[in-house]
Symmetry: C2
Subunit: 321 residues, 2 copies
């Protein structure tokens, strides 16, 4: 695919086109990803996640601006929960672009969360790889900190920044509690609001209670206060992110997190490929026939799966081998 | 498995034990699900979803109480996003139980969202099947309306109730917008708060703009106001849910939604089974070897998948057949 050398050469239009290919998920996209893969592994992948209302999008934009001020190139992948339905992703891109437009050292992409279960994580991971190969030094992956797939996406970053804010409702507080344990850096945003000190102290206590369970090494997540709207504290967050990167490198955890991500990726791709091949062999009509029989309660889905795989020539051979 | 006849006979202790088996996902669980399956298909599965802070848990509890007042049995499956980390699910169960305890016509289970991608939807679907087979007339599935997996779970219900509330922040509003299109019944909860009328009117306008795209038939989601805390409007919500059920039955959409759910279920189980068998044939050590090679950028994951499947005896036979 001719796009690949252009992406590697820094062509931003080619980059945007390639990412669109990847979202459409054709075989050409996979060939391109294979060709790009040897060029990956250099970017620092930073997940930024938090409950609705914490202001994490603003923080991500400010982090990007601060990185640009250090002449470091930044890719942003925003996983936008509104977009499966409303096209909010495109709108979001446009609003963000106003602020950061025209700078070739920055690239922003909002991901729709449409598609099948697990599709979100797969596509987000692929887009991160492309930005990594394209030479972006930092890739910020922004997800809302609610939802299994969304939290999983943040968790596979090298460094996960969890954003909190004072004065959110009880239910939001509860959601945030679940995020604490994947945090490498904790940010109390909107720190000019009443209750910010209290929120930070509550986080300290929670950390003391050992609720952070990535369970690796002896990194204690720093708790930093920001007012993303005017940029206060953003430099310090970047500093903590850089410290965490150094820590990962020195402790060998960098490699462990890479291995974890690759393992998940490999299994997911095997699943997809195996089912794709099975559907080709068995035929969509035959599978639809099974669906109808299951709906009619003539067979249950568990028995259907065993029967389909037993009748499948590949499956049969495997069992007898 | 001896638990199955006991569950079918109404034994609640056996039911709780069986659900624990299913969450642990052993082969015995699958045999039990197969045995229970012919007894499913009678429950009305109602998804209740909404952004954090809308009060949907309170509404679910009130709906359950109102159903009990009509002598209808109710199962509740609450998908709790805090629980992968904090054990919030168990706590939630206990809090809820206080209100509804000791009534054999009601059964509540909070689901942890731990586990692999897609695991949430799988396990939730299985637990719903068990409650259906156990004879519960209505199964309420409560999920937070953020996150791909969580929204998918709500979407596979027969009837999806989307809960809104006035006065939530901008970001929460945006999240809610994405939920509108899967709504069969819209509820403005906390209707005693300022702005409730405005929220309801905004929903009307959105519906007029055709933002509801389940795209089936001519059902227009009613917009109802509730104050779940004191039970105001809860009867009307139940009425709308019953109307929607009648509509699904008369229009034939009931069967279409069943088919959709079964199709997703079948593919997901085939995926899991195929990968499980592949791992057995190839061996975990060999796969771990591939992971290391991919991490070292000696091979990309796409090429690795093709190579693994080509070397797999079952895969080779399939390609040559």
């Amino acid at each position: 695919m001719e796009l690949v050398p252009r992406v590697l050469g820094g062509d931003r239009r080619a980059l945007a086109r390639l990412i669109s290919f990847i979202e459409d998920d054709g075989p050409a996209a996979r060939a391109a990803l294979a060709a790009l893969y040897p060029h990956t592994g250099r970017a620092h992948i930073v997940g930024v996640t938090g409950a609705p209302g914490t202001g994490k999008s603003t923080l991500v934009n400010e982090l990007a601006k601060a990185l640009r001020a250090q002449s470091r190139s930044v890719g942003i992948v925003a996983v936008d929960p509104t977009s499966p339905f409303t096209g909010g992703a495109l709108l979001g891109d446009r609003v963000r672009m106003r602020d950061l437009a025209g700078d070739p050292g920055i690239f922003i992409r909002s991901m729709a969360t449409r598609g099948s279960l697990g599709g979100l994580a797969q596509t987000t991971g692929d887009v991160v790889k492309v930005l990594d190969a394209a030479g972006f030094e930092v890739v910020l992956v922004e997800t809302v900190g609610v939802g299994q797939a969304e939290v999983d996406v943040a968790r596979t970053a090298h460094t996960t920044v969890v954003v909190e804010a004072p004065g959110l409702g009880d239910e939001v507080q509860a959601l945030k509690a679940g995020l604490l344990e994947i945090a490498d850096v904790l940010v109390v945003n909107k720190a000019d609001r009443p209750g910010a000190g209290q929120t930070a102290r509550a986080l300290e206590v929670t950390l003391d209670l050992g609720r952070n369970n990535r369970g690796e090494g002896d990194w204690r997540p720093p708790i930093l206060k920001t007012v993303a709207l005017d940029g206060t504290g953003v430099e310090e967050v970047l500093g903590a992110v850089a410290d965490h990167r150094a820590y990962l490198r020195e402790s060998g955890l960098w490699d462990r997190r890479e291995q974890e991500r690759v393992r998940v990726d490999l299994v997911r791709m095997l699943e997809r490929e195996l089912v794709g091949r099975l559907v080709e062999r068995v035929g969509e009509d035959a599978l639809e026939g099974w669906v109808e029989q299951i709906v009619a309660r003539k067979v249950d889905v568990y028995t259907a799966v065993q029967t389909i795989l037993k009748a499948d020539p590949a499956g049969e051979r495997a069992m007898s081998s």
